[in-house]
């Protein structure tokens, strides 16, 4: 049984911070350009959680909303990790549209095995975090998994502009749990074969 992360529904007036879960998060990049135009690719992650530290996010939100601030507080972008359906992501099906649109051949593979998920449920997996979210003892997200490998960033201006897409805020303990696990993931040393 995975840890049940407790959350609240934040007021719109509350600052954007670590542990906020947004829906329909768009991440875009310039894929190529030529003399006539620029080709842009946009990923829309149905759910994503903010990993950046709360103090950093709050300070940058203030800069954006007040249109002024100190250089030490400036952050070009905010780090997030996507949240996927556990069953679909197991076989990589959550990436079908990505591979198709990027003209990549998707080779069949189990993204993770049953043993991996059991380890994730015990909060021991280096890459995956099994996620169940409750609000006032009511389960609002289940059967979900966070893949730390798929981290991405968006500018704070995007999160401010789409604040109505913020669904929940994970309690500080559970938000910090994610940031610590992400730190463990990003600092691992993988020796190639």
């Amino acid at each position: 049984m995975p840890t049940c992360s407790k959350a609240v529904i934040p007021k719109n007036s509350q600052p954007i911070m670590q542990g906020d879960i947004y829906k329909n998060v768009k991440y875009s990049y310039i894929d190529s350009e030529d003399d006539a135009g620029v080709n842009v690719v946009e990923f829309e992650f149905p759910l994503a959680v903010i990993i950046s530290q709360a103090c950093d996010a709050i300070a940058m939100e203030t800069i954006i909303t007040e249109q002024k601030g100190k250089p030490t507080k400036f952050m070009p972008s905010i780090l997030l990790c996507p949240i996927y359906d556990k069953t679909i992501s197991k076989k990589g099906e959550h990436l079908i549209d990505v591979f198709s649109k990027l003209n990549l051949v998707l080779e069949k593979e189990e993204v993770y095995h049953s043993d991996d998920y059991k380890v994730a449920q015990r909060d021991w997996h280096y890459r995956f975090h099994a996620l169940d979210v409750v609000i006032d003892d009511k389960e609002v997200i289940n059967n979900a998994i966070i893949d730390f490998k798929h981290y991405f960033t968006v500018p704070m201006s995007y999160l401010v502009k789409h604040k109505e897409d913020r669904l929940f805020h994970l309690d500080d303990l559970f938000a910090e749990q994610l940031s610590l696990k992400f730190a463990t993931f990003i600092s691992r040393v993988a020796i190639p074969n």
């Binding site: 842009v40 946009e42 759910l47 996927y84 359906d85 990436l95 549209d97 649109k101 201006s157």
Partner: protein
Amino acid sequence: MSDYLKSISNLEKDITVVETESPVVNAENPIVSASSIPPLITEADSGGVLNQESEILAEYQAPKTIIVRKYRLKK
């Protein structure tokens, strides 16, 4: 290059889309698009407290897939 960055930063306002590729969801495609997910409750400023709409929230399931779109911006 600065013009491109300006275009991206104001993507939702100034974009001139020449062509796009929208995700295709059909009967043969088992992938559920984000748009088919039941709507969530929105919280009023006095909120933070679940009301009878919490049942809708409880039915929310983690979405199934990343949606990819392509845009072309004219120079």
